[in-house]
Amino acid sequence: MTPAMTQTVTPQHETPASGPAQARPRRRAPQTRIAGLALRTPYWVFTGALAVVFLFPLVWAGVASVSPQPGSNQINGWGLGNYVTLAGYQAGVWQYVANSVVVSGLTVLFTLVVSLLGGYAFARFRFPGRNVLFLVVLAILMVPYATLLIPLYVLLNSLGLQNSLLGLALVLTMFQLPFATFMMRISFESVPRELDEAALVDGCSSFGALRRVLLPAVKPGLITVGLFAFLAAWNDFVAPLILITDSAKAPLPLAVANMRQQVMGVVDYGATQAGVVVLALPCVVLFLLLQRHYVQGFMTGALKG
């Protein structure tokens, strides 16, 4: 039974993958071709199953959020009832989305500005303490989140930044600095020195050279840094959990997590699914659009290993 199935099933997969190469296998002896297909079938089944395992939870969340289920706002038929629940939860979902947008926007902005200037400094200038500062920045990676968040909670209170989205964004920026600074330093170092030296000789200030000549050259690095900063800030859960105590100022992940414990201990899974969709959608879309830059970030990250 298995060989028969093999013959009928495999060509479907084979044809779209190898369009122009199709003519070649025809010339081979038919037995080897069938044997080849029979050998390949477990491969297709296995890899197909892998793709399903990784994609299924995401697709399921999307479908389940609009499908009927008991205990949610969408009991009969398909519709957006769960999103209505989400929209009406406490301060309203728009408030939480706005909080997340503000925090992510500020984090991306701070990270880009600080790492652009820092990367320029580390790549192009020699100054006392340069190596020490760079090592201290990388040391941020070594220190547990919780070890820093407990004192930061106290520190932000004394700076008057308790419960503030600005304070949260500053903390999240700090956690981004090791990767961002490293990435921007590499980006600047890969630009030929002659480029900015020519600009300096032509009378540009060092800032002018950075703005007019180097900025366009390091743009791919900036996109990667910005993408990682956005994903980290949009998704962060622990920092707001500790630093934000006013529930109206909670970013989206915290709000959706809090939402589960509402309504007399009964969890509204429909609304949770809707929340997950709202949380995941921007990340997945950005990821698919900027996949190249995401992979680029890993290339750089792996270089230091």
Binding site: W60, R126, M142, L148, P253, V267, A280
Partner: protein
């Protein structure tokens, strides 16, 4: 406010002293000043939000510091004694280590397998790569919430599916028993991070020169020999990086257990970081003891990472 403005001020300062344009290139003192001006925002961030907190956590760990009352003076070594005496301390250490070993072995093994599976180019493999990578765009908290619904007895699709296939009788409780909760969380972590480690190892694989494989093939090495004698040794730096990242990340696990299990059932899934959070903000409300715990975790992590670096660097020195 001054903190907010800080990143904006330095650039003009960097271009400030236009003494003599020609001399500027050569003057190393000017260059040093400008270098510091550009590095100032980084230095300020690191100082205020990293160095200062580390010093503060040191001070807090030897002080009586309730959450609401603030600093009430030196009390060393009470906090450290209380931290170790906490009735969940050793349980959480053992659980965290168990979880770390399981997660690291699975993630590195699967990451390597997946990387080998999808390393050649091609449309289907490109699609596979993307499919495996998409979950890593999600936040850990979003992924945990997603699996919280996926595992739920009310709306989860897995249990009915298994029942329909006749594999189990009655609904499966994914988070009901300590073992099930651990493995359900591990599955979530594998789903979320396998693509991440696959990508890191893929970059490592692509760094291996092609002629090495070619030479091995000419010498008549079979696939297994090539993998054991060439791929694995040359992939060592990437594997080391992945292991260190995975061990560090797993030791500090928090989001997934906080959202999926809340430390239950029967307090069986409390990780060390969750213990710190509970001591600081839930119930005990003692920042001093939490700081002492954080300090212990920091020290342990430094030791573990130094050991890992040593272990992985050793053969290269020969």
């Amino acid at each position: 406010m001054s903190v907010q403005q800080a990143p904006v001020i330095p650039p003009p300062a960097g271009g400030l002293p236009p003494r003599s344009r020609a001399r500027r290139l050569r003057s190393s003192r000017g260059a040093a000043l400008r270098g510091w001006a550009y590095a100032a925002p980084t230095a300020l961030f690191v100082l205020v939000f990293f160095v200062l907190p580390i010093l503060l956590v040191g001070q807090m760990s030897v002080s009586d510091w309730p959450l609401l009352a603030g600093n009430r003076g030196f009390n060393a070594p009470d906090n450290f004694r209380d931290a170790v005496d906490n009735r969940f301390f050793w349980d959480s250490v053992v659980f965290t280590l168990t979880y770390t070993v399981i997660a690291t072995v699975l993630l590195i093994g699967l990451g390597l397998g997946l990387a080998l599976l999808v390393q050649e180019s091609g449309r289907w493999k490109g699609f596979l790569r993307t499919a495996i990578l998409v979950p890593s765009a999600l936040g850990l908290a979003s992924a945990s919430l997603l699996f919280y619904a996926l595992y739920s007895p009310q709306s989860g699709p897995i249990s009915p599916l298994l029942e329909a296939l006749g594999l189990v009788e009655g609904p499966v409780s994914f988070l009901g028993s300590p073992g099930a909760a651990l493995w359900s969380t591990v599955f979530l972590i594998v789903w979320r991070f396998a693509g991440f480690y696959m990508l890191l190892l893929l970059v490592g694989l692509q760094g291996i020169p092609h002629d090495v494989f070619e030479a091995a093939r000419m010498d008549g090495a079979n696939r297994r020999q090539t993998f054991a004698r060439i791929t694995l040794p040359l992939l060592r730096p990437s594997l080391a990086l992945c292991t260190i990242m995975c061990v560090t990340g797993s030791l500090l696990a928090f989001d997934q257990f906080y959202i999926l299990t809340k430390g239950g059932p029967d307090n069986s899934t409390i990780t060390v970081v969750q213990l710190i959070y509970n001591v600081a903000f839930q119930g005990q409300n003692d920042l001093g003891i939490a700081a002492a715990l954080s300090f212990i975790v920091l020290a342990a992590l430094v030791v573990i990472n130094v050991v890992q670096f040593r272990a992985m660097r050793a053969p290269e020195g020969k």
